[in-house]
């Protein structure tokens, strides 16, 4: 080994060695060079400031830890606007402490009482364990089918197979056996998301993604073992699977979630599958005649840079003239097409409206500034992996979405389940704006309405809270309208501060024209409350901009739940009142503003505002305007979701099993009995 990395030490007698001058210079230089290399390689580069890529976007459900620990600094606000919310209970509690995790409370011990209350009454969920994406929704031989990503072994994601349930009305569901399990090499690592296509002759084809024994994402074909069975209990996987593998140049783990197929004018079936090339999210298109052999069409249907992987792509036509839904294959005049994708990066579902060109297999957005992945979201809360299907029974397009949990996993494990499906919604083009969709709970939800209470023209002065006597407040359907007086709207000063629900102080942030709305799942003392509200901001040019928000910061005294605020801008047209519909079903709150132009789904986990202690309030926390509200609130019945009866006769007939609502001796009482007992128990605690 050369001695060029030796350092100079003085000789004991202080003299330095003296080689010839030129040689010594070269030696020193090369020695220093090599030493320099070694130093560069071996030393810790120490404190290079790392790029913090932790997403401070409070809308990401999974940033639970970050919400508490990386305080999102709010933009500088007028201190005038930070007056505490006017209410007896929250006097003295600053909103800042509520933004962080439990700054004032100790770690929350979840009791079984609190946890079992969280199960919903009329939203789809399996009896236990984990669920995620809705799969293959379809109406077939008189039944609505819902399949879903399911873990049969626990309340966390894993061991994914296809769960299955059926319903006559999208509300009352019956659990059926698992439709498909991970029993082939091509789906042994996961039977993942897929879609159903009904052919003109009535045949049903199911395409789904399998994760193979080498964790490669492939597309597989499956079909009913017995097409005459309306319950579609047994499924067969095509023996020649997989029918599609990742195209050349595409990552083995970047190819999943095939769509429902649509017919082209040449009589071929066409499907879309999401993927990505570097950071550009894209969707491939394939043509097929038999669902077995496919032709990858040149290019992509569409792609948007910097959006990352596109999961759960959906592609469907909407009518520009009417509110009825269109079959997925429908095309022609009076039609626009929607491209939707779930962004793997930020866990949100985005859609864009545009024009589909069948011949050159492209789709062009009407407005590239609000393209897929960068524009409008279906929902501004928790809503992912959504999928629509055309319901030929009622000629509408129905949207399903996976609603995850925003509590801690320890609670999920304790309560034994995780996730819900959102309430199914109809989707249609908003013909008044032309630039967004409208989503509304399916009309069958109305059949759950029991008793109602109506309130007419209640005036709420600035800074007021008014309790609403609606009876029990954990299963509610509320439709509310609000009006502000014109003078207040006109005289309000303009502001150049851009408002955002998520970076605001929530319902405690008082503006001249907002916030106002409802407080749901609140207790009497308002120590827990979930505001669903409007906030009107006046822009620089004097124009009014309305925002629709849900504020979770005080939804629960527990500190291990998500406390962020959700929401977005909502278009309000000339002459329209501010209107919202809110569905409350235990731990889920879904808000629909202006007929469904903007929607927000949240999961809330109160510790006190549960069972008989839950209340509803109207509130107006604006400083400069009174608000007049009229509303109607219905108690909502349970949907009694339960297993399909074991009785062979009933199962073969495929008719709907009978069930009683009250006092029956049948085994279907399960949920009703349990919840009644718990309710009584809870009431005893409060008396």
């Amino acid at each position: 080994m050369a001695d060029s990395n030796v350092s100079y030490n003085p000789l004991p007698d202080g003299e330095r060695p003296r080689p010839t001058r030129r040689r010594s210079i070269v030696l020193v230089l090369s020695g220093l060079l090599v030493v320099g290399f070694l130093v560069a390689l071996l030393s810790d580069n120490g404190s290079i400031a790392p790029t913090n890529v932790i997403d401070n976007d409070n809308n990401n459900v999974n940033d639970n830890a970050q919400n508490g620990l990386n305080d999102v600094s709010s933009s500088s606000k007028d201190p005038e606007r930070l007056r505490p919310f006017t209410s007896a209970s929250s006097a003295g509690v600053s909103e800042k402490s509520n933004r962080r995790f439990g700054a004032r409370t100790a770690s929350y011990p979840w009791t079984n009482n609190m946890l079992s209350w969280q199960r919903t009454a009329f939203h789809f969920q399996p009896q236990k364990n984990w669920m995620n994406d809705p799969n293959g929704p379809v109406f077939y031989k008189g039944w609505y089918h819902l399949f879903y990503q399911y873990n049969p072994n626990g309340a966390i994601w894993g061991d994914i197979v296809w769960g299955h349930a059926v319903s006559k009305d999208l509300i009352h569901w019956y659990h059926l056996p698992l439709a498909m399990v991970a029993d082939q090499w091509y789906d042994i690592m996961g039977v993942w998301t897929g879609s159903a296509t009904i052919l003109p002759d009535g045949k049903l084809m199911m395409l789904y993604t399998g994760s193979t024994n080498e964790s490669v994402q492939v597309q597989n074909l499956a079909y009913p073992a017995d097409p005459s069975d309306p319950l579609l209990i047994k499924w067969v996987k095509y023996p020649g699977n997989p029918v599609l593998v990742p195209p050349p140049g595409i990552g083995a783990k970047d190819f999943r979630d095939p769509t429902t197929a649509w017919l082209t004018s040449e009589g071929k079936w066409r499907i879309a599958i999401g993927s990505r090339i570097n950071r550009t999210g894209i969707t491939f298109v394939y043509d097929t005649k038999d669902f077995i052999n496919y032709e990858l069409l040149r290019g992509v249907l569409h792609g948007v840079p910097n959006t990352g992987m596109w999961e759960c792509v959906d592609f469907y036509p909407v009518s520009t003239t009417g509110e009825h839904g269109l079959d997925t294959s429908h095309n022609g005049p009076g039609v626009k097409h929607v491209v939707k994708a779930s962004m793997d990066d930020d866990r949100h579902d985005y859609y864009a409206i545009g024009t589909y060109h069948e011949k050159n297999v492209t789709w062009v957005p009407d407005n590239p500034e609000i393209d897929v992945g960068i524009g409008i979201r279906y929902d501004y809360g928790l809503f992912y992996a959504s999928k629509t299907f055309y319901d030929q029974n009622k000629k509408r397009r129905v949207l399903w979405g996976w609603i995850g949990e925003s509590d801690s996993e320890i609670a999920d494990v304790k309560k034994g389940w995780a996730s819900l499906q959102g309430i199914p919604r109809t989707v249609a083009l908003d013909t008044k704006t032309g630039s967004n969709l409208l989503q509304w709970p399916v009309e069958e939800v109305d059949s759950l309405r029991l008793t109602s209470k109506e309130f007419k023209k209640i005036e709420l002065k600035p800074g007021s809270v008014m309790p609403l006597d609606v009876g029990s407040a954990t299963q509610l359907d509320i439709v509310a309208e609000f009006e502000l007086d014109k003078a207040a709207l006109e005289k309000t000063a303009e502001s150049n501060v851009e408002f955002s629900c998520s970076s605001s102080e929530g319902s405690a942030e008082r503006g001249a024209l907002g916030p106002f709305g409802l407080l749901v799942l609140a207790d009497d003392s308002l120590s827990e409350q979930t505001p669903v509200y409007f906030y009107i901001a006046k822009g620089k040019d004097g124009s009014l901009k309305t925002y629709f928000c849900t504020d979770q910061s005080r939804s629960s005294e527990a500190n291990d739940v998500n406390k962020s605020k959700y929401g977005s801008f909502v278009p309000v047209l000339e002459g329209e009142k501010f209107s919202m519909r809110v569905l409350v079903d235990h731990s889920i709150v879904e808000g629909f503003a202006q007929g469904g132009r903007t929607t927000i789904t949240s999961r809330v986990y109160p510790t006190k505002a549960i069972y008989g202690a839950a209340r509803v309030f109207l509130f107006n926390n604006a400083t400069g305007a009174s608000v007049t509200s009229s509303l109607k609130a219905w108690q909502m019945n349970s949907a009694f979701i339960r297993p399909y009866p074991d009785d062979d006769d009933e199962r073969h007939s495929g008719t709907e099993p009978t069930y009683e609502v009250r006092g029956s001796k049948t085994k279907y009482l399960g949920n009703l009995l349990t919840s009644s007992l718990l309710f009584l128990n809870a009431r005893n605690n409060f008396l």
Partner: protein, 169 residues
């Protein structure tokens, strides 16, 4: 003179090549630079011999998940000892035991499965939850925690893991 010119590149090759490969520094450094706790990220990975041969971000992520598991396990043992030492803190310590258990039986398996089966976003969730559980354990002491450093360590390595997995999305 000629001898030095001849020897110099050889020295460089010998000096540069094997050392950098042994440490796998470019991958570790490149990855850790994109996390909020660079130093901890590098020292944690370097302490695991597998990091020397890790070929991609996924391999790094799996190592980090293993570190979460090891630290959580160690924390559980420590908590057991503390229960004897501080009987007055029995309640929050038991809550912490539940939290770290949840990390080991829930978050870690979910993260491993998500990474190996090819849907990494669920590993981000699991890692973020592990940080949340450690944080919740700490809050249970209302400021008088005997395990603050331990909880912070668990929290930080979980956050590092989440940001490493996010690079795969």
């Amino acid at each position: 003179m000629k001898a030095i010119l001849f020897v110099f590149p050889f020295v460089l090759a010998v000096a540069y090549f094997p050392i950098s490969q042994c440490q796998n520094l470019p991958l570790i450094e490149q990855t850790c630079k994109q996390t909020p706790y660079y130093g901890l990220c590098v020292t944690s990975l370097k302490s695991d011999p597998r990091s020397k041969t890790a070929g991609d971000v996924q391999a790094i992520a799996l190592i980090m998940v293993d570190i979460i598991k090891a630290k959580a396990g160690g924390s559980l043992q420590h908590i057991e000892k503390l229960k004897q030492k501080y009987p007055a803190l029995r309640v929050p310590l038991s809550a912490c035991k539940d939290r770290f258990n949840a990390i080991i039986i829930g978050d870690v398996p979910q993260a491993v499965e998500a990474l190996t089966k090819g849907d990494p976003k669920f590993a981000v969730d699991a890692a973020n939850d592990a940080a949340l559980e450690a944080d919740s354990c700490e809050r249970g002491f209302s400021g008088k925690s005997p395990i603050t450093q331990m909880n912070k360590l668990n929290h930080d390595i979980s956050i590092i893991t989440a940001s490493v997995v996010k690079m795969m999305l």
